[in-house]
């Protein structure tokens, strides 16, 4: 018997929210990016699962693009991190506090 779709959805929901919480509670910008990766992976699980259940390749293609975008984001993100580290010697997000109020 095939695994019901809702199992996948619950799994992805859990992973997604773990990622969300990670973004909220981790101070290290790198780990925050890792958490975002969790969110993206959760999404991907959704897409693939739906794709399977709809007998439709579109979901898999979407994942492919999402993966591309994730890679691009990582590139830019890490560049920003390096620039930040160079300027501030810190990669803690809560040290970014020049701009407020």
């Amino acid at each position: 018997m095939a695994v019901p779709l809702s199992y996948y959805l619950i799994l992805s929901g859990f992973v997604f929210l773990t990622g969300v919480v990670g973004v909220l509670i981790r101070r290290n910008i790198i780990v925050i990016l890792l958490s975002v990766e969790l969110m993206l992976n959760a999404t991907n699980i959704n897409f693939v699962a739906f794709s399977e259940y709809f007998h439709n390749v579109a979901g898999q293609v979407f994942v492919f693009f999402a993966l591309t975008v994730a890679a691009a984001e990582v590139a830019v993100g890490l560049a920003i991190i390096i620039a930040l580290h160079r300027a501030n010697s810190s990669i803690y997000v809560d040290d970014l506090n020049l701009l407020k109020r």
Partner: protein
């Protein structure tokens, strides 16, 4: 595998933009530092070509590339607006980059790439293209926000924008995945059809709706997804801020309306309630917090938040009326954003070029006595601020007028009343700038008062923005008919 010519013709403007961007990226290392201006002119030339191309596309409705993209009057409206504001931004940047001693030829390439992303956003017929367009735009903007690397604030803005942007795009993507799960496709018409056949009570749909609202809410900078805006607007180089505040917001509205009206029109009753609340808190927060700002860029950021709130009224009304063709809600949003673009761009142009000792002077206090030092600049600022406050006979009034018309027509007069109360409050912070410029003397007698660093390019930008603000205020017919022509084609 063949490339149909029609498809290529349909995306000719995009192609022009992209190829010019690539050309610039290639040319940049070759050109001598002193000749980087050429790149700007090249950009402008490309925009001019696009303007012509898109103008020929304002009628009709044509899908291209396997229904991935839709060339219609709605998208063309936004594209035309984007060309104009991008062109003005480029001109502004020409002056601004010199003043900031930033010499990055890629800058123009990024502007064009971001523009390409925006164009994809507003003409995407598939959530995939819209998502990719959004990412293209966002990634360009992340980079552009951090371009002033010598300034820690610029980097900080970039980092914050990036972190939150990635976060929000994750949320958006999750929403898209759920929609895909609902309809088995990411094409907007298919989604609309699925909603129509399955009914609206599906929880997964509600969840998707909320997640999409969060994702787009972030791009539109509406409360409570707005919080990046002030920080990023303040930290980013001003020309980039202007671009973000104007072009990015316009494109986001374009895509947002496309998705919510065309794709999720079936549940418009749901999302109009959601956006009513968002609209109210946006109006309230944007206007209230703007009052207490001391930095003009931050103030304008809050002002742009508040303006998104006004535009949302039109969206709410359209949603409430089920996106009816009779509703003037959508056209009024289009009109509002177009008008908003001119006045905000004008204001940011001035903010960016008012400098003292080579530094941008973005503290409101720096504007003290400006009317005496720079009467013309002060007058321009006055007009932009008055228009932002929505006082006739400027275009800002026309924008609010149509929004309120739509609201009252849609049976939401109370919303209009709330909006006018906040409009009155908003007048306070706009007028405070006028007050500082015209009625206050600078505190210290030092010679280091901010002055406008003029250049022909800047003058042209200001003149265009002023003309837009004044002429659209006096003769809104043309823009309105464009907007009414564009909006109903959303179905």
């Amino acid at each position: 595998m063949t490339l149909p010519v029609q498809d290529l013709l349909a995306i000719l403007p995009e192609l022009v933009v992209i190829s010019t961007a690539c050309l610039i990226l290639v040319l940049d290392p070759i050109l001598a530092a002193s000749k980087k201006d050429l790149l700007a002119w090249l950009t402008l030339a490309a925009l001019a070509v696009c303007l012509g191309l898109t103008s020929s596309q304002v009628t009709g409705r044509q899908y291209a590339f396997s229904n991935m993209i839709l060339i219609d009057s709605y998208g063309s409206f936004w594209k035309l607006l984007l060309y104009i504001v991008t062109g003005l931004t480029v001109l502004l940047s020409l002056a601004y980059l010199k003043a900031e001693r930033l010499n990055i030829g890629e800058y123009y390439g990024f502007i064009l790439l971001a523009l390409a992303g925006m164009m994809v956003m507003v003409s995407g017929a598939d959530l995939l293209t819209i998502y990719l367009g959004t990412e293209l735009m966002s990634l360009s903007l992340y980079v552009m926000a951090g371009l002033k690397r010598a300034d820690a604030r610029s980097l900080e803005a970039s980092a914050k924008y990036f972190v939150l942007g990635a976060f929000s795009s994750g949320i958006l993507l999750y929403g898209i995945s759920l929609l895909f799960g609902l309809a088995g496709s990411t094409r907007l018409p298919v989604i609309a059809e699925a909603i129509a056949t399955q009914g609206t009570g599906n929880p997964i749909l509600s969840l998707a709706l909320v997640l999409l609202a969060v994702g787009f809410g972030f791009k539109l900078a509406v409360v409570p997804f707005h919080m990046w805006t002030p920080d990023v607007y303040q930290g980013a180089p001003t020309s980039v801020t202007a671009f973000m505040a104007v072009a990015s917001k316009a494109a986001s509205f374009g895509a947002f309306l496309r998705v919510f009206v065309e794709g999720l029109g079936g549940v418009s009753a749901d999302w109009s309630i959601l956006f009513t609340v968002v609209c109210l808190v946006t109006l309230a927060l944007g206007n209230l917090v703007a009052i207490v700002q001391t930095n003009i860029k931050r103030m304008l950021a809050y002002s742009s938040i508040a303006h998104a709130g006004y535009a949302l009224i039109g969206v709410v009304v359209a949603g409430r009326q089920g996106g009816m063709a009779a509703s003037t809600g959508l056209p009024s949003v289009l009109l509002y954003i177009a008008i908003y673009s001119f006045m905000t761009l004008g204001a940011f142009a001035l903010v960016g070029m008012l400098r003292k000792e080579g530094q941008e002077s973005d503290n409101i206090e720096d504007y003290a006595g400006l009317a005496k030092r720079e009467p013309l600049a002060a007058f321009f600022m006055l007009v932009f601020l008055v228009s932002l406050a929505g006082i006739p006979p400027t275009a800002g009034f026309i924008g609010k007028f149509y929004i309120f018309m739509a609201a009252v027509n849609g049976g939401m007069a109370w919303l209009a009343v709330v909006a006018v109360i906040f409009a009155a409050i908003s007048a306070f912070y706009y007028l405070r700038i006028v007050m500082v410029m015209y009625m206050r003397e600078p505190d210290n007698a030092a010679a280091s008062h901010s002055r406008l660093e003029t250049s022909p390019a800047l003058s042209f930008v200001l003149a265009c923005a002023l003309a837009g603000v004044v002429l659209l205020g006096l003769f809104p017919n043309g823009l309105w008919s464009l907007a009414t022509h564009a909006a109903p084609l959303l179905k």
